[in-house]
Symmetry: C2
Subunit: 84 residues, 2 copies
C-alpha cells in the first residue's frame, strides 16, 4: 500500500470517528438545541450515496467508513429528535 493510500485511510478514519465526540456530547448533555437537524439529514443522504458509490467501485475503505458515518449520523438525528 503506497503512502497516499495510507493518507486516505487516516483521512477516512478521522472524518468517520469525528462524529463519536458529538454523539457522546449529545447523549451526555441530553441537549441538542444548537445542532442543526437539516445538516444531519442532508449529510446522511450524501453519506448513503457515498456508501452506494463505494460499494459500486468495490472500495472496502469507502464502504466501511461511510457505513460507520451513516450509523453515527443516524444516532445524532435520533438524539436530536429525542432531546430537541
Amino acid at each position: 500500500m503506497d503512502n497516499l493510500e495510507i493518507i486516505g485511510l487516516i483521512a477516512a478514519a478521522l472524518t468517520t470517528s469525528a462524529f463519536v465526540p458529538q454523539v457522546y456530547k449529545a447523549w451526555k448533555l441530553r441537549s441538542t438545541k444548537d445542532i442543526s437537524l437539516t445538516m444531519y439529514l442532508v449529510f446522511l443522504t450524501g453519506i448513503i450515496l457515498w456508501l452506494f458509490y463505494g460499494i459500486q467501485i468495490g472500495s472496502l475503505s469507502m464502504t466501511i467508513a461511510n457505513s460507520v458515518t451513516a450509523v453515527l449520523s443516524l444516532i445524532i438525528i435520533m438524539l436530536k429528535i429525542k432531546y430537541k
Copy 2:
C-alpha cells in the same frame, strides 16, 4: 460522465453543503454549546488530509468539495470558540 460519477458528484455536493445550515444556525442563534468542538477539530484534520489526497490524485471534485467543507468547518470552529 457515467451515472456513478454523477452519484459521486451529488454525494459530494450534499456532504459539503450539509454544513451550511449548521453555520447559519450557529451564527443566527449565537449559541454553540451543544456542538462538539472535538468533532470539528478531528473532522477538519481529516478533511485537510482528504484535500491533500484529492490534489495528489488530480481529482477536481474531491479538491473542490473538501476545500469548501474545510472552510465551512473552520467557520463552525470559530463560531464555537466565539459563542462557547
